[in-house]
Subunit: 259 residues, 2 copies
DNA sequence: CGAACACTTGACAGCCCTCAACGTGAGTGG
DNA sequence: CCACTCACGTTGAGGGCTGTCAAGTGTTCG
């Protein structure tokens, strides 16, 4: 089940200033860590030098995973969560009738595997959409460390709590336009928070995956994007997006994003 | 914003053997605790007597909340999570345009407030659908205790992880029939797990709330239930449900529930 | 007994999905 | 270097599911 769109990864960029591979600075571990989900803990003064070393000791840097490669599979034994270090990860479930349901797209600094803690087995698949680097944390160890480092425990609680909210984000009954707008604004903000341009970026997932995530037909996503382009909200060329009128897009998305 | 359907709470039951108020045994704290979300921890031999006493010490029994009463409101400061001890709690958000989105219905033994840990404020409202009793846990304290009792921490992780999955449960793109069937089967199983009949129960929420949760119009829920009744899958009388053909209902719900 | 409310039922319309055909870009092999 | 292939993406036509609007029924409570 290799992603047939893999070639897109190394594609020449259409827009200038758009880095083809979305990647946090991985030239230096410390710089990377500042964008990671645990940065608030790692860099907090409350965390002693020993604790910090312990956290770094239990990190296992893995990858690169090439586009289409599985990071973990539904049903396999859960043992670790992972922070995305570079690239994009898609998580999804396949129901009893073979229908796929995309759960989310995970950017650098975000965690995957938190929904697996409950059942001892991964409840979903995770696959790389482009070249992905990970920081793996063996869960029993990081949980153990969390009992010694309250700030780490608190951060884990917060991240899981956030995921509960994220999972419910698109659960509401919104129009196709609202969904697409909300996704674009959300994606823009997440990229922006990691230091990327909020207005020029590349969608690392196929239209089919995006549509699936938004509970729509791929054709609908296409049509909505076309309409947005006609309305001068943005410009789209394949997977490259440039947002021209972020405020208006945000107002369309406000119902979904609640702000 | 008092629930106008409150009178339904004390309504005479239509079906025999259906207890009007869904409530775990609260005649005895220990018996109740066996159905609570923390029972695995409390009753685990791994938890010392001292730890057990500490957990019970930081519990604050609150209630009763009458139908329509708020348990917490969106935007107010987060300070505690709570286990439902009796009754049903509805959690919901109101978007910028005033549209309500129901996040879930919480039965005895289930936790509410886990999605608030991240932001310091409750991101949603929680309201009693009937007479509700709670066990409140001041979060900083239970988190503190969790650092001393790894099993408690693990249980908190598991419960939050489970909520991530639950939030995504109905996120998929399913038909009206599949949604309603999945809700009924899920509700039945949750009741069953708490010792109630899996085939005869009372829906404690209005059609409007149920429809909202399932992302449908109330009329659609009505029509689906009517069709299920015509197909001999169940019998419905107002809010009382008797499931006549659970296997077939489960097969309709299998796509959503994934089993 | 009447008012209020929840729920049901029917008619109709609209959004979006399905199906189909076409366009486009990237990689391949001659 | 270019035709070819393949998959992704787009565009158009048509239909179905489900939402909306409206009226009717049943139940509770004053």
């Amino acid at each position: 089940m290799r992603n047939p769109d893999a070639h897109d990864t190394a594609a020449r960029v259409v827009f200038p200033n758009v880095d083809p591979s979305i990647v946090a600075d991985d030239g230096n571990d410390w710089v990377f860590c500042s964008t990671c989900a645990f940065s608030e803990v790692c860099l907090a003064q409350g965390m002693g030098k020993g604790d910090l070393r312990d956290l770094h000791l239990l990190v296992e840097h893995t990858g690169p995973y090439e586009a289409g490669q599985f990071i973990f599979r539904e049903g396999t034994e859960f043992n670790s969560i992972a922070a995305v270090r570079a690239g994009t990860v898609k998580t999804f479930m396949v129901d009893s009738q073979g229908r796929e349901q995309v759960l989310g797209f995970h950017l650098p600094g975000e965690l995957i595997g938190l929904n697996a803690i409950d059942g001892d087995r991964y409840p979903c698949d995770a696959v790389a959409l482009d070249t992905v680097m990970l920081c793996r944390f063996y869960f029993p160890k990081i949980a153990m460390l969390a009992t010694r480092v309250p700030k780490l425990q608190q951060q884990l609680f917060r991240l899981m709590s956030r995921d509960i909210g994220n999972a419910a984000r698109f659960a509401g009954d919104y129009s196709a336009d609202e969904r697409v707008a909300a996704f674009l604004v959300g994606f823009s903000r997440r990229l922006s928070a990691r230091g990327f341009s909020p207005t020029r970026f590349r969608l690392t997932m196929s239209r089919a995956d995006l549509a699936n995530y938004l509970r729509q037909a791929p054709e609908t996503v296409s049509r909505v994007l076309r309409r947005f382009e006609d309305d001068k909200l943005l410009e789209v060329r394949r997977r490259d997006v440039e947002i021209m009128d972020l405020p208006r897009l945000e107002s369309m998305a406000s119902a979904v994003l609640r702000d």
